[in-house]
Amino acid sequence: MSSEKIIPHSEAATKFNKDVERVNWHDETLWFVRAKRDKSAHQIADWELLRETASKIKNNVLSNIHDYLVEFEANAQRNGIIVHWAADAKEHNEIVHSIMAKHDVKQMVKSKSMLTEECHLNDYLAEKGIEVIDSDLGEYIVQLRKEPPSHIVLPAIHLKKEDVSETFHEHLGTEKGNFNPQYLTESARHSLRNTFLTRKVALTGVNFAVAETGEFVVCTNEGNADMGAHLADVHIACMGFEKLVPKREHLGVFLRLLARSATGQPITTFSSHFKKPRDGQEMHIVIVDNGRSKQLGREDFRNSLKCIRCGACMNTCPVYRRSGGHSYHNAVAGPIGSILAPNLDMSKNADLPFASTLCGSCTNVCPVKIDIHDQLYKWRQVLVKDGYTPTAKTVAMKTMAKVLANPTIFNIAGKSGRFVMKNIPGMVNNKMNKWYDQREMPDVPEESFREWYKKNSRESKSKDNE
């Protein structure tokens, strides 16, 4: 996947917008989730206090990450968990593969882990001849279609039931044209059940890891993490190092925030705590950096590491709702993805911080109070300074800056601009002008405000009277 040519966000979004019905559906579905989030959040009297508390706990974690990681490792090892450290995606994938190889297992069942998406684990294991089945229904659907997830919580939200029906017909042999969601889910469940029963290795993500106990928590709505982990001989859990919370008592804050922010549920259906392997089972945890320590060192952007992956910023983002997750060409899409992705690779992801109107809704819904829209603004400055913008834009901006800094030039430019628009509208109303594609230009007034003011202001009137 990493070798694929990247289509810039605006181009992909333009394509997505060709199908108006689908865009409307995508927007309305996600808005529905956002509305559910509002309803659920507004029922909690101390919601804003909860957000503030969560943000402060994460501040503490990020400021003392080394100590908490060491504490977690020691406690996890004491519990009988084997702890691995991965500096980057490559190391992460190699560690997972080495565990598979040690047990000589060629099949794995996985429960939704965005980190493994970030590391492109599936592709890596496929090259090694290992078959991975994603057991989360949404992930399973996109996996069958050989697509990445388009949303971190609702991976197949870009698809309608008709699309799912077609996919299942092709891969699972379901009835063609049967769009009944229950029928389709049932079919997937049967297929997955067989997977769960035969896999010897299960991989899960980690929502929260508790330093003081060495345990970790996995949240799902389908129970698929439990099905995989409880039936397999080997459980591998992969986590970015920022997933830590200091104490068990802090889970109460995050579990209340997570599901409400994600889907409007009071809590995820399953919040499973894993502390030690059961008798005869092997439990591994892979703690991954992959750019996180670099982001931790970027003062303006370190807050992005507070993210608990609820997806609320995507659901509320008016741009995401109308461009679809795939247009962000990154494992994590939407506003949070747009501030995480440039850290991973500036040249690949330079377009993402610009895929926003800076409306600020993302910052307001964020359960851990990440200043997302301010970081988008700051990333723009960094990307421009580091030379990741088209030359034409830089030239235009430099010219604009000169014109706007000088009142005389500004007045001349304004006057001549208005003259052209009025008398030679074709100069402006043409295909080169992206404004004009689907919008009319403003009417040109007889005079600017300052021209009016010169004649009509109180001072000029009193001068006239003198």
Partner: protein, 246 residues
Amino acid sequence: MKIGLFIPCYVDQFYPKVGIATYELLQKLGCDVEFPMGQTCCGQPMANSGYAHLTKGCDANFIANFSGFDYIVCPSGSCVLHVKDHLHDENQEDKAAAIRNTVYELTEFITDILKIDHIDGRFPYKVGMHVSCHGQRGLKLSQMSELNAPFFSKPEQLLHNIEGLDLVALTRKDECCGFGGTFCVTEEAVSVKMGQDRIKDHESHNVDYITGGDMSCLMHLEGILKRQKSRIKTIHIAEILNSLEN
């Protein structure tokens, strides 16, 4: 009280009537208003595009024009937010700071500084209020739908007292219109779709006018409305608040 009238560059050039309404309204409310003639632009178009380092000229010009006023008032939440957050000048930082602390959006200046909550006016139409994101979430002119906090709205409070004005409750009360500065051309497809959807919300409530505190949002919506040959018109809130003759 000496007020410096800050009229955004595009309002000066394309929407002088908004500048006139603001000027007249402030005078009616008893303010001593002056428009510094050398003003141009606050520099936001560059800064939001990632070129904040190119705004030094604009910043210096802004400071030269607006230093020494008791307050600076502007009929645009977006431009005010930019000045508040980003106006700096290493050679005269004290002056920049003074400006950052005294620049106000028109409706917040009326409610918070002049302490006026009732303006006489008449506007017998059905109106939808498009809340601008920078005004609302940036300057906190009204409560945001995402937060669990009591409702308030400085602009709506003023509109409620306008005779005959029927203010509708929109379905998505603070959804972004999609203008977003240079976003409106760099992400044209999404920008226009957002604008069209914003208009649909107003249409479904059968409004005659869409109003708001930011002419940039209204300019974008107006462009789409005109292309659609819609009967709905846009009007800046200053024009409604200034609807009664002296």
